[in-house]
Symmetry: none
Subunit: 214 residues, 4 copies
DNA sequence: CATGAATGAGGATTCATTCAT
DNA sequence: GATGAATGAATCCTCATTCAT
C-alpha cells in the first residue's frame, strides 16, 4: 500500500493566524508593494487561493495582520504602566525601557513597515496605527509628565506634550534606522545607551530649575 | 545687432533638471511604487521615451532626483551654522528653526519620501540619504553641544550624540507625521511650538546641575 | 398513535429541486457566466460542496434546471390547445394570450436566459430548448393555421410556417426586450396591446382576399 | 548580413481598426465572456499589452467595436429608404430584403452577439444597440406603414408600431436562430422564403378590408 | 449527506523598458 | 533628440472543482 500523500493539511483554525503572522513578517521584510501574495502563501505552505478564503484583498490582509500584531504588542506595555506607583521618573525610565529595550528583529521590521512602508500604500492603515500606536504612547508619557509637574518632581513650565512626542518619536526613528546600520555606518549606536541617554536627557530637561535630575 | 546667445545661457539641457524636479515632486506625493514614469513625463510635457534619454531606469531617476534635491537643501544650512559665533544655545535654537521652521509642502513631502518611502525600494538611496542628511545633521548638532560642554555652558556628563539624535529625529518624524493630520487628528500640533519646546527641552536637559537653562 | 410518515410524503429530496429552482432564477437574473455556484448554494442555505452531491458540473446544473422548468412550463399550454374546438382564429388568439399574457418576472428572465444567455455557454441546452420550445410552439401554431386554411377560414396561399415563426419569435423578442425598458425607453410598450395587435395583424394577414378578418 | 527580423510591424494607423474588427469577430464567435483579450491580440499579431495602448478595458473594446460596426451597417440602409418613392408596399419589401437579404456569416454572428450575448455582460452596450438598431429600424418601418395608412394603401386601424416591431424582431430572431440549424434542425428555413413570406404576411395584414394585398 | 478548506488554472490589467521611425 | 507603438513579465483576484473530515 503506497504511502498516503496529502497535498495539504487541513488546519482550519490555525490557518488565519499562520497567514497573518507570515504576512506581517514578509510585508515587513520586503515592503507591502514588493510582496506577492504567493510569497506569503508559500511561506505557510498553501496556495494563493487559500488567502482569499480568509481575507478579502491584499490590503485587508495587511490591515488585519497589523491589528493582530498590534493587539499583542501594546496591551502589556499599557498594563505595566497603568499599575505603576512611585516617583514618576522611574516610571518614565520603565516606559522607555519596556517600549524599546527588547525589540527583536521581527518587531523592529514591523515598526519599519509601519513607519516607512505603509503610509502611501495603505493610508488608512497608517492612520490607524498612528492613532493607536504612537499617539497613544505619547499621551501616556505626557500624562506621566503632567503627574510629575503636579507633584513638583518636574518643572511646572515644561511642555509635556512636546517632550513626550520628541522623546518617543526620536527613539522610534533611531531604532528603525539602526536596522540599516550595515549600509549607513553613521547611524549605528548601542541601543541601551540610546534609551538611557534619552531618559537622562528627558529627565534633566524636565527637572525644576536649581535641582539636579533624578 | 543679432541676438547674441551666450553659450552659458543656452542651456539646451533644461530637460534633465525639469525631469528631476518633476520626478521628485511626484515620487514624494504618491510614493515611488505608485508613480508611473508616464506621470512624470506628462508633467514635463514629454513622453516616456524621453526619460530614457537621460536616465537608465526608474531607480536611476529616483536616485538622481534625490541627489539633485539634496545638494541644494543641505548646503545653506551647513554654511549658516559653520560661521556661527556666540553662545551655543543660541546656535542650537537657530539650527532647529532653520532646519524645520520653514519647510514648505514640497520639502515636507520629500522628507516623507526619504523617511518612509524609499528604504525598501531603493535601499542604496536611503543609506546615502541617512549618511548625508540625518547623520550629518546630528553630528553638526553634537559638535555644537560638545562646544557647549567645553565652555561650561552645558553639563559635562551629557550624551551629546544621543541628545542630538533624539532631538533631530524626533522633530523629523513629528513633521513627517503632521502631514497626515487629516487622517489622524491626534498628531496635529503647531510647528513653532514643536520647535521651540524641543529647543527648551534640549537646552534644559543639557544645562549644568543647579543652573537654569537659557 | 405515532405520527405516521408516508413514504411518498417524506420527500427527503427536496434539495435537488430547491437547487434547480434557485439556480434557474439566479442564472436568469445574472446570466450563466456571472453566477457563482456559491450564490446558488447560499440562496438555498447550503454550501457549494452540496451542489456536487446532486450535479456533476455547473453546466449540468444549468441543463437540468432548464429541463426542470421547461417540463412544467410547456405542458399546460399544449394541453389547453390540443382540446380546443371552434374557429381557429379564436384558438390562435387564445394561444398568444396564454403564451405571453401572464408572464411573471421570473418567467421573463428565464426566457431571456434562454434567448440571450445560453447559446454560447451551453450550446447543447440552447439547441434542445429551441427544438422543444420555440419550434414546438410554432409548429403548433402552424398546424392551427393549416386547419384554418383547410376550413376556408384562412386564405389558401398563406405561408403558415413563416407566419407562425414570425408572430411567435417577434412576440418573444419583444417581451424579452421589454425587460430592458429602463435602459432603452424606445422599447417600452404595453404588453396587451402587443399581443392583441399581433393577433390582429396575423389574422388579417391570413384572411382570404375580399373578406374581413375576425 | 543576417536577415533583419522585426518582431512586430509598426502600424499605428491601422492597428485600432484591425483590433476593432478582430475583436468584433471573435466576440461574436465565442461570446464576450469566453473571449480572452489575448485571443484578439493573437489574431492581429500583437500582444495583449497593445490592446491597452488603444482601449481602456475589455468592455471599452467591445463597446467601440460595436459602434464601429454599427456605424457602417446602418447608414446605407437608412439612406436607401429615405430617398424612396412610389408605393409603400414596395418600399417595405425593399427594407426587409435590404435589411436581411444579404447577411453574411460575420454580420449574422454579430447580430447574435448583440441579441444574445451582451445583455447581461455589458448592459450599457446592449441598451445603446437596442435604441440605435432595432428601435430605429422599426420606427422607420412604422413610419412607412403610417404613410401607407394616410394614402389609403393600408387599412386605417392597423397598429403600425406593433406590426413593425413584430415583423422585424421576428425576422431578426429567426435569422439569429438559423445559425444554430446544425444543432436544432427544426429551425432551418430558406432565408428568401422567410423574408418574402414575412413581407406577404405583413402586407396582407395591413391591406384594407375587401381588397387584396399587393 | 454536508461541510468548507484548499486548489490551481486562468484572465484582466499595469507598466518599466525597448526600439523603429 | 523625441516619439509613442509595442512588448511581456508580473500580479491580483476569481471560481469551478476536489476531498478530508
Amino acid at each position: 500500500m503506497p504511502a498516503r500523500v496529502l497535498r495539504w493539511e487541513r488546519r482550519p483554525d490555525e490557518r488565519p493566524n499562520e497567514l497573518l503572522e507570515a504576512a506581517l513578517r514578509i510585508f515587513a521584510e520586503r515592503g507591502y508593494g514588493n510582496t506577492r501574495l504567493e510569497d506569503i502563501a508559500d511561506a505557510v505552505g498553501v496556495t494563493k487561493g487559500t488567502i482569499y478564503h480568509y481575507f478579502d484583498t491584499k490590503e485587508d490582509l495587511l490591515l488585519r495582520a497589523i491589528d493582530h500584531y498590534h493587539e499583542r504588542a501594546f496591551r502589556p506595555l499599557e498594563d505595566a504602566l497603568r499599575s505603576r506607583k512611585g516617583p514618576v521618573s522611574a516610571a518614565i525610565r520603565l516606559l522607555l525601557r519596556r517600549g524599546f529595550g527588547n525589540l527583536d528583529e521581527t518587531r523592529l521590521s514591523v515598526l519599519s513597515l509601519l513607519v516607512q512602508g505603509v503610509a502611501r500604500d495603505v493610508p488608512q492603515v497608517h492612520h490607524r496605527w498612528l492613532e493607536t500606536g504612537p499617539v497613544r504612547a505619547w499621551e501616556l508619557l505626557a500624562r506621566l509628565i503632567e503627574r510629575g509637574k503636579k507633584s513638583g518632581e518636574f518643572r511646572a513650565d515644561a511642555d509635556s506634550d512636546v517632550a513626550a512626542r520628541i522623546a518617543l518619536s526620536g527613539l522610534l526613528l533611531q531604532f528603525v534606522w539602526r536596522q540599516y546600520g550595515d549600509g549607513a555606518p553613521g547611524v549605528a549606536i548601542d541601543p541601551d545607551q540610546l534609551i538611557d541617554s534619552t531618559a537622562d536627557l528627558l529627565l534633566h530637561g524636565l527637572r525644576p530649575a536649581g535641582r539636579s535630575a533624578r
